[in-house]
């Protein structure tokens, strides 16, 4: 389905590496929809973007649902650990 389902967040003091090297990130969109490349009908997709630098300033991932859940757990553990640093 084209789920349209999209979450958008601002991303600050963060960088991504795209086709033209590193660039500062501004936003991220997270959505469950058709992937371009991954082999499932639908995937959890994340686009890290910098609109000021054009459409090509994009770091994209297409994650299977299981991989996305594992990523959430890993992020949670990492962020909690970071609080104790």
């Amino acid at each position: 389905m084209c789920t349209y389902s999209t979450e958008k967040l601002d991303v600050e003091r963060s960088s991504g590496k795209g086709a033209d090297g590193w660039f500062p990130l501004r936003t991220a969109t997270v959505y469950y929809d058709h992937p371009v490349h991954a082999p499932d009908d639908h995937t959890v997709n994340i686009d890290f973007l910098n609109p000021e630098r054009g459409p090509g300033a994009r770091v994209a991932v297409e994650l299977s649902l299981d991989s996305a859940k594992a990523l959430i757990e890993a992020l949670q553990v990492t962020v909690e650990r970071a609080a104790h640093h």
């Binding site: 389905m1 349209y4 009908d41 054009g54």
Partner: protein
């Protein structure tokens, strides 16, 4: 052997607000009078699959064109980057979509071999947009392939600019062909039922085909959702519909 040359090329057309936008066109090369088809690409973009669909219509005898709905956000960008940018911006506003498809239809009618008849077809988000063009534009038929939110409210807090069209069914100006999978969640079978009821109550011309063991995006040949039996039958229904609505001389 019959002459079957087709030209396929990227062109510029005048879309909403008079903006020149990119579009991909394919047309039979002979001079016979032809109907025209506007292909409305799905949310993932103005991509290789959409362009293949355009060429398919040309091979079947139609002048066809697919406007790049993301041209303004991302002219010349890779289709997936353009789609990501458009999504981050909230998607394509309905009024701009209508203007771009109106421009594409006008361009088709301006061709020397046009018979004056134009239809639209859209897949996924384009299915809803094809339905929208049948409300707004002078066209002779629209094909909605599993468009979500023609009826049914988007969830609360939804960031994209789509609203359901069920309250406007009475304004429909063209016959609609609908293609749906019974395992689809968006649109669900219940939503397809609701749309069919609205069309019946409004006395509008429509034709729905609903396939078992078939979900969303079943025409997508390179995705796991592809359902050959449904898609082969579906294409036959689409070409029969356009032959009836767009064929012949004006």
């Amino acid at each position: 052997m019959a002459y079957d040359a087709v030209i396929a090329e990227t062109i510029g057309i005048q879309g909403a607000n008079g903006d020149v936008i990119g579009a991909y066109s394919a047309r039979p090369f002979d001079g016979a009078a032809r109907g025209g088809v506007v292909v409305i690409h799905h949310m993932p973009g103005y991509d290789r699959e959409s362009k293949e669909t355009v060429r398919r219509f040309a091979v079947e005898g139609y002048n066809a064109v697919c406007p790049n709905l993301y041209h303004r956000e991302a002219p010349g960008a890779a289709p997936d980057d353009a789609a990501a940018t458009a999504r981050a911006n909230g998607g394509v506003p309905d009024d701009r979509l209508v203007g771009d498809v109106a421009g594409a239809a006008g361009w088709l009618r301006s061709l020397p071999n046009s018979n004056g008849r134009v239809g639209t077809i859209g897949f996924c988000s384009g299915g809803r947009q094809a339905f929208l063009t049948a409300l707004e534009l002078d066209i002779q038929g629209a094909v909605d392939c599993y468009g979500a939110f023609v009826v049914g409210e988007p969830p609360e807090g939804f960031p994209l600019r789509v609203r359901p069209l069920g309250d406007r069914v009475g304004e429909l100006r063209a016959p609609v062909l609908g293609m749906f999978g019974n395992d689809d969640a968006h649109p669900s079978p219940a939503e397809v039922d609701e749309l069919e009821k609205l069309l019946q109550e409004a006395g509008k011309e429509y034709e729905f085909h609903r396939y078992d063991d078939t979900g969303h995006s079943f025409f997508s040949v390179d995705r796991p959702a592809y359902r050959p039996m449904s898609a082969v039958d579906g294409w036959q229904k689409i070409f029969a519909f356009f032959a009836a609505k767009l064929g012949g001389e004006a």
